[in-house]
Amino acid sequence: MNIVVASAVPLLGLITEPVSVAHYLVVGAILFVSGVVCMAMKRNALGVLMGIELVLNGANVNFVAFASPYLQGEGSRSLGLDGQVIALFVILLAAAEAAVALAITLNFYNNHATVDVDRADDLKG
């Protein structure tokens, strides 16, 4: 039955298995998709920014997951911290981006008295 369910729903088989990289990837994907949907659906600019944070953190989970020691090759001479370092960079980047985006949002609010992104169509073709 497991086999039947597993073959019908590709990822369902993971529930029964011990936690591995694949599980992390599923969480990252869920985070990513949630972020994208949030960006696409929210009309509030702050909501959109939150969606961006979700997308970035979904990516971070992937980086960290792929940095797992179990995926290291035999005899590798690296520290094995590449994924974590890049995740830290992304966090840094997200902070900078949030600062800039919030400033833009604030300015937009000052000019239009709203943070509705649908109203931000001044550059429409």
Binding site: V36, M39, A40, M41, K42, R43, V48, V117, D118, A120, D121, D122, L123, K124, G125
Partner: protein
């Protein structure tokens, strides 16, 4: 400062001042005061200064060469023996019968062109004739400038020309042309003096054409009038005919003799020392023959070119005399003389080229007085006088006959003319005929003397007629009459002019200027007739002309001023002219009286002219160069003596008196009815009233064939050349049409299609740019998914592998 350097400076300055005035008025005329009023002052100031300079030159001349009574007989030249400026080549002893050339100063200011022996230069030739003519021209020009500043005042504002009808039936309105008139007048004075001072024939020819163009400007002053522009063109064309002959003469002289200079000139020789190069006068009348006429070596060699070619170069010089004796070159000299005379006949309105002068009266009256009676038309006579030494007796005979024909024809036409200016115009033609005849029969002084006196009284007569026209606004004498009461000054001065032109005077005592000059012409003609009985008709022409002159001049005066007004409309408006116009009349009237007098002590125009008498023409000459007949040109002094003088004077007096009496009988006392005479001699009357049908003759001979030729040429042009050109143009047009279609449809179409495709694509793509952020995110997401799907399809095999 001696005369030789002083005279060219004085007269040169006098000559150039009107040019300066012309240039000034040309560029600044319209800005000279309101409507260019001050242009008259500029022109007058220039000509008055010229007059003063000419008078200074005149007085300087008299100081060195006092005019005294000429010595007739064998001792000629003794009076001038000591005062030769151009003594080079003339100081040889000519034996007991020494003949001295006249005193003349010559030189060059500027050389235009020089190649080998051929030389064109701006130079001067000054003798007493030059100075006298300078004084006469500048004096009359001054009077006429003053007169014209009054006469032309209509031109100071808008002018309505009543003789020009526009297509809508109204009259022409145009701005006044006051400065333009004085500009042309100044240019004319400059050109006229250029002829007078010219030191060579080329320079004469240049200024000859310049006076021609000035005449054209001035006749055509009212160029909107068809008659005026036609008259201007007619005058110009007739002069061209004459000038063509003149060019032939010039070429004959230049080709054969290599010089056009009148006098000898100094040129640098091969060793740097100046050598004397003979001019025309000393080539034709060399000193070694006692200034007797001789065909120059150059012409002999030119005519005998074949023989020269067969002779060794060293022997040519020795054989020239033999060839000359055979008659080589004499025709060349004849052609040269007749050619130059052709130009003179055109300019001086001689038969058969005289028909332009009466039409030239379309110009303003001051112009008629200055250009077409006193000065320009006299230039022809002046040139014959200046060129006299080169003219052979045969040429002189031609000139005499042309003069006689001219004076007779013009006088008969003047008898029946009714336009006051035309009577004077024909009178001018007739008097010019007198001058030519006088020169032709050897009366060098007589002809030029008459030129000077005629200049005074004819300009006076024209200015008087201008005054009459100014008052009556008509030229037709039949509408005048009785004007003496309202215009006393004009009538009086015109009477003086009429008396002067008919040569009135108390025989052997005193007379008006015309009395002296006309008597000397009659006397010379009589002297010539006696010497050459075959040509006695010349004297009859002169005597008959004198009678006709008296008749038509007094017919004019009686019709205009005497009796009762014929047209009350005209008489009521008549008034004496303003003072600025009357003053020149009075001045000229005085001169018309005194110009011929010889003062005690011998000063007189005739004696002054006698100083410049060409060498070798003092004594009676037997000749007959080209025609092989013997002609005797009697010495002029013979006509002053004995029976000839008495007969001539009595003839002149009798004919003049007869003419005046006949005119008085017909037009003053009305004893004889002019209408009855016209009826009796109806064919003659009609013949004369139609001016001998000369205009019709020329029309049929030249104008109609020219028109026909023009019609044929125009037919060829329109029938052959135009269709060809039009066909070419049509073909080019068709080709261009195809080309244009390709251009528009293919080339332009491609460009337009590209542009519109780009444009519409842009318009479509623009719709994607909605400005909705969430949509963009959707696109990004969808695009990313699409990329992944695409990559998985494309790289299926490698992924699977």
């Amino acid at each position: 400062m001696d005369l030789a350097s002083q005279l060219p400076q004085l007269l040169g300055l006098a000559w150039l001042l009107p040019l300066a005035s012309f240039v000034l008025i040309l560029f600044f005329g319209p800005r000279m005061g309101p409507h260019g009023r001050n242009a008259a002052w500029v022109a007058t100031a220039a000509i008055v200064t010229s007059l003063v300079l000419s008078l200074v030159a005149f007085v300087s001349w008299l100081g060195v060469h006092p005019a005294v009574a000429a010595h007739h007989g064998g001792d000629h030249g003794a009076a001038h023996a000591g005062d030769h400026a151009d003594a080079a080549g003339h100081d040889a002893d000519h034996g007991s019968h020494a003949v001295q050339p006249p005193v003349a100063y010559s030189g060059d200011w500027y050389t235009l062109y020089e190649a080998g022996r051929l030389k064109l230069s701006i130079g001067w030739y000054i003798d007493s004739l030059t100075i006298l003519m300078f004084v006469v021209v500048t004096f009359i020009a001054t009077c006429i400038h003053v007169y014209a500043s009054g006469y032309m005042h209509d031109e100071l504002h808008e002018v309505t020309d009543h003789e020009v009808h526009l297509t809508d039936g109204s009259h022409l309105h145009r701005p006044g042309r006051f400065p333009r008139f004085f500009q042309a007048l100044s240019l004319f004075c400059f050109s006229m003096m250029g002829i007078l001072i010219a030191g060579n024939l080329a320079m004469v020819f240049i200024f000859w054409e310049l006076v021609g163009i000035c005449s054209w400007f001035l006749i055509g002053f009212y160029y909107e009038r068809k008659s005026a522009s036609n008259a201007a063109n007619k005058a110009f064309l007739f002069n061209r005919v004459g000038d063509f002959g003149m060019l032939i003469g010039l070429m004959a002289l230049w080709g054969a003799l290599g010089t056009l200079h009148f006098a000898d000139s100094q040129v640098p020789g091969p060793d740097g020392q100046p050598v004397s190069r003979p001019g025309l006068f000393s080539l034709v009348r060399p000193a070694e023959t006692g200034h007797a006429l001789r065909v120059p070596d150059g012409m002999v060699k030119f005519a005998a070119a074949e023989k020269v070619a067969k002779t060794a170069p060293g022997d040519v010089a020795g054989k020239v005399d033999a060839w000359r004796a055979e008659g080589f070159g004499k025709w060349l000299l004849f052609i040269a003389g007749v050619g130059i005379f052709c130009g003179c006949a055109g300019k001086s309105a001689q038969f058969p080229l005289f028909v332009w002068l009466p039409d030239a009266m379309e110009g303003p009256t001051p112009v008629s007085a200055l250009v077409h009676s006193a000065t320009m038309v006299a230039a022809g006579v002046y040139l014959v006088g200046r060129f006299f030494p080169v003219l052979t007796p045969d040429v002189l005979l031609v000139i005499a006959y042309i003069g006689a024909i001219t004076l007779f024809i013009a006088a008969t036409i003047a008898l029946v003319a009714n336009d006051i200016k035309r009577v004077l115009a024909y009178s001018t033609v007739s008097q010019l005929g007198y001058m030519m005849l006088a020169l032709g029969v050897g009366g060098w002084v007589a002809g030029l003397f008459h030129l000077v006196t005629h200049a005074f009284f004819k300009s006076l007569l024209f200015l008087c007629s201008g005054s009459v026209i100014h008052a009556c606004h008509t030229n037709d004498m039949r509408k005048m009459g009785g004007l003496a009461k309202v215009m006393p000054y004009t009538a009086g001065t015109m009477l003086v002019g009429c008396l002067a032109i008919i040569g009135a005077g108390i025989p052997f005592v005193i007379g008006l200027s015309g009395y002296y000059s006309k008597d000397s012409i009659l006397a010379q003609a009589l002297s010539f007739s006696q010497a050459n009985p075959r040509h006695s008709i010349l004297f009859l022409a002169v005597a008959g002309g004198a009678f006709l002159t008296a008749f038509y001049m007094f017919r004019l005066w009686f019709m205009t001023f005497a009796g009762t007004p014929r047209d009350h409309h005209v008489a009521e408006h008549a008034h004496e002219s303003p003072q600025v116009m009357v003053m020149p009349l009075l001045v000229l009237a005085v001169l018309a009286v005194v110009a011929g007098w010889t003062l005690p002590g011998g000063f007189g125009i005739a004696n002054l002219l006698e100083q410049s008498r060409p060498a070798g023409t003092t004594e009676t000459v037997q000749g007959g160069f080209a025609f092989g007949q013997t002609l005797t040109v009697p010495a002029e002094y013979l006509s002053h003596e004995g029976t000839i003088h008495v007969t001539a004077t009595m003839t002149a007096f009798a004919t003049a008196l007869g003419g005046v009496l006949l005119a008085a009988a017909m037009y003053l006392w009305r004893v004889i009815s002019p209408a009855a005479i016209a009826t009796i001699f109806r064919p003659v009357f009609i013949f004369l009233a139609n001016r001998w049908y000369f205009d019709e003759l020329y029309h049929a001979l030249f104008v109609v064939p020219a028109h026909r030729l023009a019609a044929v040429a125009s037919g060829i042009d329109q029938g052959l050349i135009d269709p060809f050109i039009n066909g070419l143009a049509w073909t080019a047009r068709q080709v261009a049409g195809i080309d244009a279609w390709i251009d528009r449809t293919l080339v332009d179409g491609l460009g337009h299609a590209t542009a519109s495709a780009t444009w519409s694509a842009g318009l479509e793509l623009k719709k994607l740019q909605t400005g909705s952020l969430r949509q963009y995110v959707m696109f990004i997401a969808a695009g990313t998914v699409a990329l992944f799907v695409l990559a998985s399809i494309v790289f299926r095999s490698s992924l699977a592998g």
